[in-house]
Amino acid sequence: MLASLLRILALTRKELLAVLKEKRSRVSLFAPPIVQCLLFGYAATYDISYVPYAVIDRDHSAASREFLARLDGSGVFERIAEPARIDDLKTAIDTRKVLVAIIIDGDFERRLSLGEPAAVQVIADSRNSNTAGTASRYVNEIVAGFGETWAAGHGARPRPVRSEVHAWYNPNFESRWQFIPGMIATLTMLQTLLLTSMSVAREREQGTFDQLLVTPFRPLEIMAGKAIPPILIGIVQATLVMLVGRFWFNVPFSGSVMTLYTGLGLFLLASIGIGLLVSSLVSTMQQAMLFTFVLLMPFVLLSGLTTPIANMPYALQQLTFGNPLRYAVEIVQRIFLEGVGLDRLLPDLWPLAVMGVLSLAAASWLFRHRFE
C-alpha cells in the first residue's frame, strides 16, 4: 500500500515537473485562461450600451418631445438622424447607421390627452435578433415609463394593469454575471482536457509509455498519477478565472468557497477522465488534439452557457445529460449568483461523480489492453 502510494507520488511529481519545469509551458498553462476570461468577459455580453436611432416625429408636440427627451436621456439611445421621409429612414437602417427607427404619428399628443391609446412605431434591425430584441425591450421600458409619468402628470387614468419585475440574483440583467461563472467551468475544461488527452498520447508517441509499463506500476497507479496533476492544475486555473471574475468584473459571489471547490473537483474528475480516455484510445498527439477539439465544440454548445438548454429540441436536451460541462456551468452559476449549498446541488453533482469514475476506470483498463 505504501509502495503503491510512493509510486503514485513519484509519477505525480514527474508529471508536474514535466509541465511546470519550463517557463514557456508554465506560461502556456496559466496565461490563456486569464486572457480568455478577460476576452469573454468583455466580448461575450448581450447587454447593449449604445443604440443609435432615427426618428420621424410627425406630431412635434410637447408630449412627443418629452418622450424623445426621455429616450435621449437614457444614456443608451442616441438620436442620429431625423429624416423627413420614410425612405430615408429605411436607408438609415439598411446602411446600419441606426439600430432602431421610431415613428411618432401626428395625433400622438391629442390621443394621449383624450386618454385614448397612442402608438409609437418602433422598427428594429433584426439582422441580429439578439441586439434587436434587447433594443426593443429597452424602448418598451421607456415607453411604459413615459406613459405612466404622463398619465400621472396630466390627471389621466393610469393603466389598469402593469407589471412590476423584480430580477432575482441579477437585478440588472447583466449577462456578464451569468457568463463569467460559466467561463470558470468552460475554460478549465478546455485546458485540462487538452492537457490530459495529450499526456498518455505523448508518452506513447515518444515510447516512454512502454518503459513505464515494464516498471512495477499498476494500471490504477498510472491512472492516479496521471489524473492528480491535471486536477491540481485545473484547480489553480479555475481559481485564476474566478479571481478575475470576482475582482475585475465584480461578479458577486454569494455561495461558499468549499461548495464551489467540491463541485469543481468532481467536474475536473469527470473532465480528466474523458481526457485520459481519449488519450488512451489515440496513438499520437495529433490524433489527441483533433479528438479533443471534436469533443469540445458539442460540450460547449450543449452546456447551456450560451443558449438555454430548455430552448433546444428534445433530443438534444437529452444529450446534454451526458455532458459534464452542463452540470458544471449550472453548479458554478448557482453557487455564484444563488449561493446554494451542496444539498441542493446533488442532482448536478452525482452525474459528474459517475462520469468521472466510469471514464477513469475505462482509461486505466485501456492503458494496458489497447492493442488487443
Binding site: 515518444q206 512502454d210 518503459q211 512495477p216
Partner: protein, 600 residues
C-alpha cells in the same frame, strides 16, 4: 545510365575540391568546432567514404558540399562552382540523401517518386524513361502502391535513394545510408551504390560508421572531432596496423568475449573484438603478442584495425573508452536455472503472422542474442516477453512468470531498454533516474545510493543536470541502461541497443554487457549487427517471424557457405541461412515482400 555523368568533357578534373574548411557552431553558450582545417578531393567516378565516430563532422561536411551550411574558413568547390557563392548551381546538379530522408509515410512509393520528380522539374517524358530503370535497380517495382510508412527500413532507404536519383545527379552524397538497415538490405544497397559508381561513372561521397563499408570505397577520409586523422585508400589505412594484428584462441570452455574483455584491460592491447570464436586483437606500438602471455597467430590488418590505431594515436578510443562496471548488488542465484522459456509463441496482427511458433530457452547469467533483419519479429517477441503485448498463442515464462498477467512484483525482476530513447527527454539525467528509482520502489537513502551508483558506473555524474533530450546518442543509451539497471534486475532486455552507434560506443556497450553477464545478470539482446552475435552465449536467427537457426555462435557459423579465402563470418552465415529459408516457399509461406506488417 542512371547517373548523369555523360558530359565528361565539361566535367572539371575534380568533382569536389575542399581546401582547409573550418566551421564552428554555437550551441547554448558552448562553441563546437564541427570542422577544423578539413581538405578533400574527389575524382570523377570515384567513391569516397567519410568515416568516424559520432560527432566527427561527417554530416556537416556533406551538408557543406551540398551548399547547405555556410563556410567559416577555407573553400569548397563542387563541379566547378563555389559552394559559398553559388550553392543553387550545386544543388541543382547533385543528389543529397540525408540521414533521415524526407519520405512521406502516408504517400505510396509511386507518389513519393512523383513528388520528388515534380520538385526537381523532371518532365513526363524523362520520367517514362527513368522510372523503369530506377525500379529495376531498387527492385521497388512490385510495391508501387504501398505507403512508404509500411516499407521495411531497407526498402525505405532504397526508395529514398530512388527519389534522390529521379533527376540524374552528377554527384551523389549519402549520409549514413545503412543505419538501421539489416545485413541483407545493406548488401543490396551497397550493390546499388557500387553499380552507380563502377558502371554509371557517378561520383559518390558516403558517410558511414560501419567500417566494413569503407573498405569497399576508393578512398576514405577518417575524421575525429572535426579533424582529419588520415586520408587514403582503405588498404593504406588498414596498413597502419601492419604487424600488430593477431588472432588469439580463448581457453577451453571460455567464451571469446571473456578473453576479449581481459585483453582490453591489458595496457599492451589497443583493441580486441571477438570474431569467429577467437579474439581479433591489435597490439600497441612496440608491444609484441608475448606481452599478453598468449601465442596468437598473426592476421591481416583490416580497415577497422587501421581505424582504431589512428583513433588511438589521436588520443581517442582504444579500450580507454571504458565500459567496465560492477554491480552494487548482483542478482541472487535463483533455484531455477532457466531465466526465460518460450514455447510455440505466436503473434498475429490480422492476417499477418509477426511471430510464428517461436521456441527458445535462455539460461541464467548468459547473453542471449535475437538476430534478424528488420521486420523479422524480434521486437514483437521482445514486447511479448516484457508483457507489453499479449501473445496470440503459446506460452512464455520470464523468471518463472508471464509478465502480462503476473503481479507488479514480477516486473521488478526485469530491466528493459527500448530501441529508441524512451526516457523523459524534457527531464534532466538526475530527474529521470530519480523517477525510475521511485518507480521501482526505492526511497530515501537506498534511492540516493543507487542513483549515485548509476551515475558513477555510467559516467553521468557531470551531466546530472543536463536535460536528457540534449544528450549525445551514446550518453542517452548509457542513461537508458542506468535507469534499467538501478533496481538490480535479474534479467535485462535490450532492443537493438547498438543500432546507429559508432564503433567506439559499440565496444563500450558490449564491455558493459560482458561485465553484467559475468556478475550473473541474464541479458537478452536483439541486434542486426551479425558480428555482435559473437558476444553471445547462444543466439537465434529469426526471419519473417520464424526461427531459422539457433545455437552457439560456432554452431550458427558452421551453417554458412564456405567463403573463398577466409573463414565464414557471422554475417555470411546469417545471409546463407535467411536466403536458404526464403528459397523454400513450399515449406511455409514466407513473406518475401519486405513489408512491415505490424509493429515489429
Amino acid at each position: 545510365m542512371i547517373a548523369g555523368g555523360a558530359d565528361k568533357t565539361a566535367a572539371p578534373p575534380k568533382v569536389v575540391s575542399i581546401r582547409g574548411v573550418g566551421k564552428t557552431f554555437r550551441r547554448g553558450g558552448a562553441r563546437i568546432r564541427a570542422l577544423d582545417n578539413v581538405s578533400l578531393d574527389a575524382d570523377a567516378g570515384s567513391l569516397v567514404a567519410l568515416v568516424g565516430p559520432d560527432g566527427a563532422g561527417k554530416t556537416t561536411l556533406l551538408r557543406m558540399i551540398a551548399g547547405l551550411v555556410s563556410i567559416d574558413t577555407g573553400s569548397v568547390a563542387v563541379l566547378g562552382f563555389d559552394a559559398a557563392r553559388d550553392p543553387q548551381s550545386i544543388q541543382s546538379r547533385i543528389g543529397y540523401m540525408p540521414q533521415r530522408f524526407g519520405l512521406y509515410e502516408d504517400l505510396s512509393v509511386q507518389e513519393n517518386m512523383d513528388l520528388y520528380a515534380d520538385l526537381n522539374g523532371v518532365t513526363a517524358a524523362e520520367r517514362r524513361e527513368r522510372y523503369p530503370r530506377l525500379m529495376e535497380m531498387t527492385d521497388l517495382g512490385r510495391f508501387l502502391d504501398r505507403p512508404a510508412g509500411k516499407l521495411s527500413g531497407g526498402m525505405k532507404q532504397k526508395l529514398g535513394l530512388a527519389c534522390t536519383l529521379v533527376r540524374p545527379p552528377r554527384l551523389l552524397l549519402l549520409d549514413e545510408p545503412t543505419v538501421g538497415v539489416d545485413p541483407l538490405s545493406r548488401r543490396e544497397l551497397w550493390e546499388i551504390i557500387l553499380h552507380l559508381v563502377r558502371d554509371d561513372k557517378l561520383t559518390a561521397i558516403v558517410s558511414t560508421a560501419a567500417l566494413d563499408e569503407a573498405e569497399r570505397c576508393d578512398r576514405a577520409l577518417l575524421m575525429h572531432l572535426g579533424k582529419v586523422l588520415s586520408e587514403g585508400s582503405p588498404e593504406a589505412i588498414a596498413g597502419r596496423a601492419e604487424g600488430r594484428v593477431f588472432l588469439a584462441d580463448p581457453g577451453p570452455d571460455e567464451p571469446a568475449r571473456r578473453l576479449q574483455s581481459r585483453l582490453l584491460d591489458d595496457d599492451a592491447v589497443l583493441d580486441a573484438v571477438p570474431e569467429g570464436g577467437q579474439v581479433h586483437l591489435v597490439m600497441r606500438q612496440g608491444c609484441g603478442p608475448a606481452a599478453v602471455g598468449l601465442s596468437p597467430e598473426p592476421a591481416l590488418p583490416r580497415f577497422e584495425d587501421g581505424f582504431m590505431t589512428l583513433l588511438h594515436e589521436a588520443g581517442a578510443g582504444g579500450h580507454a573508452a571504458g565500459g567496465a562496471m560492477t554491480l552494487a548488488r548482483p542478482p541472487e542465484k535463483g533455484a531455477d536455472d532457466v531465466a526465460i522459456e518460450v514455447s510455440d509463441l505466436v503473434k498475429t496482427f490480422g492476417d499477418f503472422v509477426a511471430v510464428d511458433h517461436v521456441s527458445f530457452r535462455v539460461r541464467r547469467g548468459e547473453i542471449f542474442g535475437l538476430l534478424g533483419p528488420n521486420g523479422a519479429g524480434k521486437t514483437t517477441t521482445f514486447r511479448m516477453l516484457c508483457g507489453l503485448l499479449a501473445a496470440s498463442g503459446g506460452t512464455l515464462r520470464v523468471a518463472g512468470e508471464d509478465l502480462r498477467v503476473a503481479g507488479a512484483s514480477a516486473r521488478q525482476k526485469v530491466g528493459y531498454v527500448a530501441q529508441k530513447f524512451a526516457l523523459y527527454s524534457q527531464l534532466s539525467v538526475r530527474e529521470n533516474l530519480d523517477f525510475y528509482a521511485s518507480a521501482y520502489g526505492l526511497s530515501g537513502r537506498a534511492r540516493r545510493d543507487r542513483i549515485e551508483w548509476a551515475m558513477t558506473q555510467f559516467e553521468l555524474t557531470e551531466l546530472a543536470r543536463v536535460v536528457s533530450g540534449q544528450l549525445p546518442g551514446g550518453f542517452k543509451q548509457r542513461l537508458s541502461m542506468a535507469a534499467a539497471l538501478m533496481h538490480g534486475p535479474e534479467i535485462l532486455f535490450l532492443d537493438e541497443p547498438t543500432s546507429g552507434a559508432d564503433p567506439l560506443a559499440r565496444r563500450e556497450f558490449w564491455r558493459r554487457i560482458t561485465a553484467l553477464s559475468d556478475q550473473g545478470v541474464t541479458v537478452i539482446v536483439t541486434t542486426h549487427f551479425m558480428e555482435e552475435a559473437e558476444y553471445c552465449d547462444h543466439a537465434v536467427i529469426q526471419d519473417a517471424g520464424r526461427i531459422l537457426a539457433k545455437g552457439t555462435p560456432a554452431e550458427i557459423r558452421a551453417r554458412a557457405r564456405a567463403q573463398p579465402g577466409g573463414r565464414p563470418t557471422m554475417e555470411d552465415a546469417f545471409i546463407a541461412i535467411v536466403e536458404e529459408a526464403r528459397a523454400r516457399p513450399h515449406e511455409k509461406p514466407v513473406d518475401k515482400s519486405g513489408v512491415r506488417g505490424g509493429p515489429s
